[in-house]
């Protein structure tokens, strides 16, 4: 094993895919959580199931759906090939579609939980003071629920980084092109290159551990804060 000659592309690609996915999930998850919470109960129930489904479905099922939706023979896939000469599948960015769909429910559900615990009077107070609804959302709602939002973001990032099933179906494995850490580990194991596989496993475990430690410290900071408030009372 020669670390100096190692191909670091999978690390870079995995981080890139996870980071872009997290940014997309951050905004769409918050947006969905905020607006779906206000919908009538029936509609809310249906949307809730649809948006949470990728969390419990096998990633291969998600991958299958995505291929059928974005593949070169689908309407959307065809449109992009015809107009922009761009393939939506089997490229490095195809993995973003897979990670976004699979990790989205984590952000959506955590953010919704945070919003449900949000004291509506704060919003009303902002309104009577003349603050615009957008300003209330970004200056009051988000900072007040920041612990939950941050926890959701970190979880979504961790999940996106570890995504394998749907990614391998929609992106495939091309070294230096679409390879991610998870697809590389599988490829190395398949070809009997255990030494390299161990290294990538170690890197993956290290990143995931840091992420989980970050969540834990967020949570304990939160409970310390609550304890401090209780003491005050």
């Amino acid at each position: 094993m020669n670390i100096a000659n190692m191909d670091w592309y999978p690390l870079w690609n995995s981080l890139r895919v996870a980071a872009i996915s997290t940014v997309i999930i951050f905004f769409s998850g918050i947006y969905a959580a905020w607006y779906i919470a206000k919908l009538p109960r029936f509609l809310k129930g249906i949307l809730d199931v649809i948006l949470t489904l990728p969390l419990v479905l096998p990633p291969t099922v998600v991958g299958f759906f995505l291929l059928k939706l974005l593949g070169p023979y689908s309407a959307i896939g065809k449109f992009f090939i015809d107009t922009a000469n761009t393939r939506l599948v089997m490229e490095w960015y195809s993995a973003i579609f897979a990670s976004v769909v699979v990790a989205f429910p984590l952000m959506y559900r955590t953010a919704r939980g945070a919003f449900e615990g949000f004291d509506k009077d704060l919003q009303y107070a902002g309104q009577t003071l003349g603050m615009s609804n957008t300003k209330i959302f970004w200056k009051i709602v988000i900072p007040t629920t920041s612990q939950g939002i941050l926890a959701g973001t970190v979880l979504a990032f961790a999940r996106a980084l570890g995504e394998y099933g749907a990614t391998s179906m929609i992106s495939g494995y091309t070294p230096g092109k679409t390879a991610t850490i998870s697809t590389t580990v599988y490829q190395l194991w398949r070809t009997g290159n255990d030494a390299q596989a161990y290294l990538w496993v170690a890197i993956n475990v290290a990143i995931s551990t840091v992420v989980l430690l970050a969540i834990n410290s967020l949570e304990s900071r939160n409970s310390n804060k609550i304890a401090a408030v209780e003491m005050e009372r």
Binding site: D119, D121, L122, Y124, A125, G126, Q127, T128, L129, G130, M131, S132, K139, I140, P143, T144, S146, K225, A228, V229, E232
Partner: protein
């Protein structure tokens, strides 16, 4: 001038509110869940009434026929929420700044300094709300509202979240503020003490319907309904049978007592009496008007006031014939549990209800 007249269907009843308020402190007194907070929310534009109108100084805030419904942002009403609704992620200073409207930004620095001084918040500017006491939180919330330059002030149970010791101090601060702020102030509460100490006039709200506005003294001396009587603090009630209207003679059926009062009217159905209006008679006293022989079941003495739970003699078995008396603890020969004694109920202190 605030004119409010609207209806809104709630879960268990329909809210029907109709009142006007000038430059005064108007209290809306009602039990929990009677629609008090909903009334304020409708006036503020947070909730939408089903029908009716809300007008402030000639400006229509809401009119169901003309399809006018101004947003809370455009109504300029100061709303003090029950738990003050300070923004937890902001410091005291940032909370105050949040109250300043964009068009007032130019003069804001001077105003903030003034409000910090007026609300005694010096030294707390950089603190987060969670580290403030209840009284300080309320002062920040009021300061934030005043910086917003509202046309009227609305307070939702302003001292309910405070303990007894702080209550007095905060009520005093509110009295000072109200004296300075000569505009309409609406205060909703279930606590008669807040009405008594802070308000000039009061409207009783029960089951979503409000009674006409009256002065605070008249609410306590002559409540207009049984529920108003309960809210005013009256604890003794009885159905009555009129025996001799010109002489003011009637029978308090539940108490099994014949009493007299010059206030008796032909349409009276119930009578009531405040606990503190009963007078203890000494054995050597000559017979008094409305003299009652009572048996004391319990004597709860708490400091200055002794609360006696009694029944008229001969009525001990009846659950309706319970009278609650409050007597000065320093009175000699205070009746103890199990003892019998004589008391009187002055005729002018009996209240009559038409419902």
């Amino acid at each position: 001038m605030l004119r409010v007249n609207f209806r809104k269907q709630l879960n268990n009843f329909e809210l029907k509110v109709n009142f006007e308020a000038d430059s005064e402190v108007l209290g809306i007194l009602g039990p929990s869940g009677c629609g008090k907070s909903m009334t304020l929310k409708c006036i503020a534009g947070i909730e939408k009434p089903d029908s009716g109108t809300i007008e402030l100084d000639g400006l229509t805030l809401f009119d169901s026929n003309k399809r006018i419904n101004l947003s809370p942002q455009n109504r300029r009403l100061g709303y003090l929420f029950q738990h003050y609704a300070l923004f937890p992620s902001m410091t005291v200073e940032q909370n105050l700044l949040a109250g300043i409207r964009p068009e007032d930004q130019a003069t804001s620095q001077k105003d903030i300094a003034e409000i910090i001084k007026m609300m005694k918040l010096e030294g707390l500017e950089k603190k987060k709300p969670q580290f403030l006491s209840g009284g300080q939180r309320q002062r920040v919330a009021l300061g934030r509202i005043l910086l917003n330059k509202p046309k009227i002030l609305m307070l939702d149970e302003p001292t309910a979240a405070l303990d007894q010791y702080l209550k007095w101090q905060v009520q005093l601060e509110l009295v000072e503020l109200f004296e300075r702020w000569q505009k309409t102030i609406l205060l909703v509460t279930h606590n008669r003490e807040e009405i008594f100490q802070l308000c000039e006039s009061v409207s009783v709200l029960t089951e979503g319907v409000n009674e006409p506005k009256q002065s605070v003294t008249s609410l306590f001396e002559a409540p207009q309904s049984l529920s108003a009587g309960i809210l005013a603090g009256c604890r003794n009630f009885s159905r009555i049978e009129i025996l001799d209207l010109p002489a003011g003679l009637f029978k308090a059926v539940d108490w099994g007592l014949v009493l007299q009062s010059p206030k008796l009217t032909a349409d009276a159905i119930n009578c009531g009496a405040y606990s503190h209006n009963f007078k203890l008679l000494k054995p050597e006293d000559s017979a008094a008007i409305n003299q009652i022989s009572l048996k004391c079941h319990y004597n709860f003495s708490n400091g200055a006031i002794a609360s006696l739970v009694c029944s008229p003699l001969g009525q001990e078995a009846s659950n309706d014939a319970i009278l609650y008396l409050e007597i000065d603890s320093s009175t000699p020969n205070l009746p103890q549990s199990g003892e019998s004694f004589n008391a009187s109920l002055p005729p002018e202190n009996i209240i009559f209800f038409k419902d």
